[in-house]
């Protein structure tokens, strides 16, 4: 849902867009034909439909999400980052940047101390709206990023490129990503799509997977799978619904971080033995979970890993 192109006066249009937009694997070519030098001051519209005014080229960027950090670094602007989260682990040089988000809580004082001229926040309450409001009230330009599909990851990269005057780098990066996405799309074209269940985590009986119409679901679709999705808000799915959906392939994303999650452990779970994927030995550990679930520039690596798991016959 390209929220950037929808003006805030048309919420109805937004509902229609959410309701009617299929997750399509086709990619729109970049529409940007503007000159590559950015003129400041400039106003950009972020994923929350907010107008963000940038008085000058940002030199001190605070990123409140690992995916945004990766985007900034992929645009050769790592040296402009003055604050990141404690969950940031890529690229290696971000380890030296001060953390302003500790255990998912934004420390406002540390953000102020970093003295940013651009703050990249995450949408859908990943950065709480109270924090976004507070930082905006303090006078910082806060740009909310929330890609909900593979296409929107590319759009976000271009948006950051515009914001930080790195359009050429953004164009080059998205062109390369599109080539790789195109290659995957062609490789899996026409293949039978297995009903694919991506396990994000299982806690206290609640099963978490890709939410309906979510970023993760769109990546699975492009990778040649037919995603089994959970609730759009909680991203959880009831075991009964999972049994009815009967996945032909189960991908264990949580196994990347939790060695106790194994195909054997899955088949031993109460009720899971009836699932086709379990009976046919189609339960795989996805070690690439970090790049599959993080909507940053490395998503193409995640996409390729997913495609190889979902359509192994199409790759050598």
């Amino acid at each position: 849902m390209p929220a950037r192109r929808i003006r805030a006066f048309a919420p109805l249009l937004l509902i229609l867009a959410v309701a009617c937009q299929p997750t399509s694997p086709s990619l729109s070519p970049p529409t940007s034909t503007a000159p590559s030098a950015a003129a400041y001051p400039q106003t950009l519209t972020d994923d929350a439909g907010r107008e963000v005014l940038l008085a000058a080229e940002p030199e001190r960027i605070v990123s409140l999400a690992p995916s945004s950090t990766e985007m900034v670094c992929a645009l050769d602007a790592c040296d402009r980052l003055v604050g990141v989260t404690d969950a940031d682990d890529y690229p290696a040089e971000v380890a030296d940047i001060p953390d302003v988000v500790i255990v998912a809580v934004v420390d406002i004082e540390l953000v102020v101390e970093a003295d940013p001229d651009l703050i990249l926040a995450a949408g859908n309450e990943l950065t709480s709206s109270a924090v976004i409001t507070e930082l905006t009230d303090l006078g910082y330009p806060v740009m909310v990023l929330y890609p909900e599909s593979l296409d929107e990851v590319l759009e976000n990269i271009e948006l950051i490129g515009e914001a930080i005057n790195a359009r050429d780098q953004a164009a080059a990066l998205t062109a390369e990503m599109e080539n790789r996405i195109q290659a995957v799309t062609e490789a899996v074209a026409g293949a039978t799509r297995p009903r694919t269940f991506y396990e994000v985590g299982v806690f206290e009986g609640a099963i978490y997977t890709a939410g309906e119409d979510s970023f993760l679901a769109s990546v699975i679709t492009v990778a040649g799978g037919d995603p089994i999705t959970g609730d759009p808000l909680t991203t959880s799915i009831a075991l009964e619904d999972l049994l009815v959906a009967d996945p032909e392939l189960i991908l264990l994303g949580d196994a990347a971080n939790d060695p106790s999650v194994t195909p054997e452990a899955v088949s031993a779970r109460q009720g899971w033995g009836a699932i086709s994927a379990v009976q046919n030995g189609q339960v795989l550990v996805m070690l690439a979970d970090a790049v599959i679930t993080r909507p940053g520039p490395r998503i193409v690596e995640g996409l390729e890993a997913l495609a190889r798991a979902i359509q192994p016959d199409r790759f050598d």
């Binding site: 255990v103 004082e109 309450e125 709206s129 109270a130 808000l233 909680t234």
Partner: protein
Amino acid sequence: MRAAVAIRSLVGGPSLGRATAVVGGAVVVLLVALVAGVGVGSVEVGLSEAIGIIGQRLGLPISETWASTAPTILFEVRLPRVLAGALVGAGLGGAGVVFQALLRNPMADPYVIGTAAGASLGAVLAITAPVLVPALALGAGTAWLGIGLAQVLAFAGGLGAVTLVLVVARQGGRSNMVTLLLTGYAVSSLLAAAVALLLVSSGRALASVVGWLLGSLGGTGYPELAVAAPLVLGGSVWLLFRWRTLNLLLLGDEAAAGLGVDLVPARRGLVLLATLVTSAAVALAGTIGFVGLVVPHLVRLAIGPDHRLLLPVSCLGGAALLVLADMAARLVGGVPVGVVTALIGAPFFLWLLHRAAGATTTP
């Protein structure tokens, strides 16, 4: 015993010297807490720097020896949060005294007749609405005069819930306090169930909702303070003017009637006034527990049950306690202040109870 106390306070109050000493001491404690709260945070601002920054604000010609961000941290991030802590703590401490007197029940707190449940429903509705109806998220962070939807709905919810409780409790004619308590409990349960329903469907907003329910002072700005302060402070002062009635409440209706006072109409006014104060406090910071229950008890243990001193000192003590608790919460990083008040306060309270064993601890 109780009657004797109340009657004594009708005749002769605390001596001027003692009142000055007690209230003055509480003011000093609060000032120390305020200074500590502004001085301590995750970013270090030295004492000399802080004094310089304040001096510069006051127009003194002081050369800058501090980082350009330090004044913002002190005046825009820390100070409003500390003031909010003081305001909310004062409101809860004062309202707690009033509810304990009204219900003559040591377990009474400002939330006991539905304020918290109503305010929670209002705030949680506001927080989850953008998640449930994406169209509302477009203006994420829209504020009217700096007051967020959550604050407005929390305030309205708190007042609304108590009004509902009062109306329902009066259906049986003259409402006694037991009926009021039980009605409050029933209405609270109903509203809490609605909150739980919203919790289940809140998706990504769950963390915000839980944070609000546990109570947090983060993100309070001057506009919210400017709206809440008159309500909390004005309400508290108004309550203080009614100390006689509050003292009489400890006697019970019959004894008061024997003195020629009908407490029923007075009681309703006190309930609404204390609810107004509580709702404003809760709208600002969420449902911070413990302060409104325990501060009145602590102060009563220290200075006795006369409301002329009990009410103002509970306000000051609640303010100091919450400012210090929030300071600890900020240092630990992202822990809701309501958790800290319980973690630090509860054992301390138990120790005091143990020490005061044998003394009267109930109103």
